[in-house]
């Protein structure tokens, strides 16, 4: 029986199901984390009524969202409107397929893992456009236009900032990237690629559409932007996909620049439990996401574009050149 499960289509379906489960749970936990982190930054307690110290709050949220009415829009382009959340959520799950959680613990060790990540995340922009166009509201439309412009522009520095790592490794497979960073934290790519790490993380924030780059939502001027007309579970799915994307970007950053599941020092090797290192690194990056979210204001569209095209892209190009020179000389 178990043998059958290890056969290819079954194994893939099982692990993919497990991943969806993981991502949904991750999103739920992240909502609680977000509320707690924001509360402590803002001199508040945060949710503390449901369960011990508010730990069951995500469950309560999920129940609430499931029982909420999903208000259908008369004027909406129905199928586009309803499919948009799926187009946002599925990429966030699919990227997890290529991320190595630990040694040999990867669903599909594609030899073009980096490309797969880039290709799949850009589908998210499609979901935003569909949501904004399908709702047929001027706020949504503005949000979608902003979202499309922003996600497509920031795709460029995101891809370019990956190139340094790819050049150093000589492989597009994420497992190779992780293996190349073994042997201690001084071998991590964050050191030779520090500017690239920062650019990747900044563009990642822009991809996830969080403050300071949350213009597609921009709740103070366009009130939620592309998701203004959503309610109930479709809305929850959009939120979940935002959190899942956030986790994906953190995980990929940890994999590419912070050594993935590699322990920071050789003697801390936990063997089969090395995924703990991966989890810790991802969690730390997620905290940075939330820290930024609750500390600084948001950019304006033209400033966002300026930053992307006039600062980040030239910087990545320069650093690619520097990396190439360095490889040529040594």
């Amino acid at each position: 029986m178990l043998e059958v499960l290890n056969q290819e289509p079954f194994r893939f379906l099982l692990t993919f199901g497990a991943l969806i489960f993981l991502v949904l749970n991750l999103a739920a936990v992240l909502t609680l984390a977000e509320r707690k982190v924001s509360a402590y930054i803002q001199l508040r307690y945060g949710p503390n009524r449901v369960g011990p110290r508010g730990l069951l709050q995500p469950a309560a949220d999920v129940i609430k969202l499931f029982t909420k009415e999903n208000i259908p829009l008369n004027r909406a382009d129905r199928w586009v409107f309803l499919l948009a959340p799926a187009f946002m959520f599925l990429p966030a799950v699919a990227v997890w397929l290529v991320i190595p959680f630990s040694q040999n613990a990867v669903v599909a060790d594609l030899n073009i893992g980096v490309l797969f990540f880039v290709a799949i995340t850009s589908i998210g922009a499609l979901g935003v456009i569909m949501a904004g166009y399908g709702s047929r509201s001027s706020y949504s439309l503005l949000g979608a236009l902003r979202g499309a412009a922003q996600m497509i522009s920031y795709e460029v520095p995101l891809i370019l900032s990956l190139l340094g790592v790819v050049m150093l490794t000589g492989s597009l497979a994420l497992s190779d990237v992780v293996n190349a960073q073994g042997g201690g934290f001084w071998n991590w790519y964050i050191w030779p690629q520090l500017p690239m790490f920062l650019i990747f993380f900044i563009s990642g924030i822009a991809e996830v559409k969080r403050i300071p780059f949350d213009l597609p939502e921009g709740e103070s001027e366009i009130v939620g932007g592309f998701m203004i007309e959503y309610s109930g579970m479709t809305w929850a799915l959009i939120q979940a996909s935002e959190f899942a994307m956030m986790a994906v970007v953190s995980a990929v950053t940890a994999t590419l620049f912070l050594g993935g599941w590699q322990p920071p020092l050789p003697f801390l090797d936990l063997g089969a439990f090395n995924w703990l290192w991966f989890a810790i690194k991802t969690t730390l990056l997620l905290f940075v996401f939330q820290w930024i979210r609750w500390s600084i204001p948001r950019f304006r569209m033209d400033q966002l574009m300026d930053l992307g095209w006039k600062v980040l892209i030239p910087l990545t190009l320069i650093w690619i050149f520097v990396t190439a020179l360095w490889m040529l000389i040594f």
């Binding site: 001199l43 508040r44 001027s138 439309l141 503005l142 921009g218 709740e219 001027e221 204001p297 948001r298």
Partner: protein, 386 residues
């Protein structure tokens, strides 16, 4: 250069010939009255070219209670609680303005202690209005945290108000001829302690965190830029006028109450944009702290209420009261016909007048800039809608 570009875009779209020739279309957008970031119930009809605003038309009246009509049907003292509902972030100033107008009619002498208590309360109110308005400005820029720090300060001031007046927002404390009651004995010390604490907190909690922030600067510097001429033409008062460099403060130029005896500076800034209005507000808090300290030191003993008799019947005539509210000049014009109800009460509310700025300044800006410009004016719904 950006300014020029915006101007050409606006001109291009404003001219219908060019619009038709190139098939350009603008999008109409309705902002408010139920908009989460709008100050109260304001509706803006916007015409957008992409994200550039071509036309902005504020529609008011969603909170209009016709306070002036209600006041014509009430006795003089019974109008005071209504003035609390005007600009509900500057209740003390509204009460003060109205009482000054009626006292002008009656020509009465106010006990000096009452004058000091009035000024003390008004300056606390100014702090309780300026600090949240800075918080709102940041909230509109997308930073959620400062508003909670700001409301912490406001809450503490409200605690003081509650101890003094019995209410947290709608005080009904300043009365015609004085104030309702003397300060409770422990309150001066409590205010002093709070003010000292605020002085320590304001630098790390507000100035250090906000003023140097790169995103804050890029979102506010040059946004809502206006010249002193424009500001004076539009009749602005308060921080929006002072941030352009025009040195006008009712407290100094049209002195009332005991302000001539107190030392304070009128804060101006010459940039005339949102960032300058923020700087003016935060520095005015320091000046308010100065005034409060002087009030507490100089406050004489004595009565807090002049004897006016049980029923007020001011002589026929007119009374004017003018105070410097947190948002600008708040003026009251009371006309009496000799009976015990006012014949006509007119409020000049700074929020109402300052909002004219929107029509003039907003076109040419981007859509997200509306919110910082609203933060520059900092209007209050109860104020502009009377």
């Amino acid at each position: 250069m950006l300014e020029e570009k915006r101007k050409t875009v606006t001109e291009r779209l404003a001219s219908p010939d060019i619009r038709d020739e190139f098939g350009l279309e603008t999008m109409d957008m309705n902002m408010g009255p139920q908009h989460p970031a709008m100050h109260g119930l304001l509706r803006l009809i916007l015409e957008l070219d992409g994200e550039t605003i071509v036309r902005c038309d504020p529609i008011m009246g969603y909170l209009h209670r016709c306070q002036e009509k209600i006041a014509e049907n009430r006795m003089y003292p019974a109008v005071i609680p209504l003035t609390d509902r005007l600009d509900y972030f500057a209740n003390m100033h509204n009460e003060h303005g109205y009482c000054l107008a009626v006292e002008d009619l009656l020509d009465v002498e106010i006990p000096p202690r009452a004058e000091y208590i009035r000024v003390l309360m008004c300056e606390l109110m100014r702090i309780a209005s300026h600090i949240p308005s800075i918080g709102f400005l940041l909230l509109e820029l997308g930073a959620f945290t400062p508003i909670l720090y700001a409301f912490r300060e406001r809450e503490r001031i409200q605690d003081i108000f509650e101890a003094v007046t019995g209410a947290r927002m709608m005080f009904h404390y300043i009365r015609i001829g004085g104030v309702k009651a003397d300060l409770p004995p422990e309150i001066p010390e409590k205010i002093w302690n709070y003010i000292e604490g605020l002085e320590r907190r304001i630098q790390p909690d507000f100035i250090d965190l906000i003023e140097g922030n790169e995103i804050f600067i890029s979102r506010t510097r040059g946004v809502g830029k206006m010249t002193p001429e424009q500001a004076v033409e539009l009749g602005l008062t308060g921080p929006p006028l002072r941030c352009t460099g025009v040195d006008f403060d009712v407290r100094r130029d049209y002195p009332y109450s005991v302000y001539p005896e107190l030392e304070f500076d009128v804060i101006t800034d010459d940039a005339g944009d949102v960032e300058a209005s923020y700087r003016v507000r935060i520095r005015e808090v320091w000046q308010s702290i100065r005034i409060i300290k002087q009030c507490l030191e100089k406050m004489p003993e004595g009565e807090v209420m002049a004897d006016l008799g049980r029923r007020l019947r001011p002589p026929e005539g007119e009374g004017f009261g003018r105070v410097e509210g947190p948002r600008g000049e708040f003026a009251v014009h009371v006309v009496s016909d000799g009976s015990d109800v006012p014949y006509r009460v007119h409020y000049r509310d700074p929020s109402f007048v300052n909002m004219q700025l929107l029509q003039e300044i907003v076109p040419g800006h981007y859509l997200p800039d509306i919110m910082p410009i609203m933060g520059l004016i900092d209007p209050v719904s109860g104020g502009w809608d009377k």
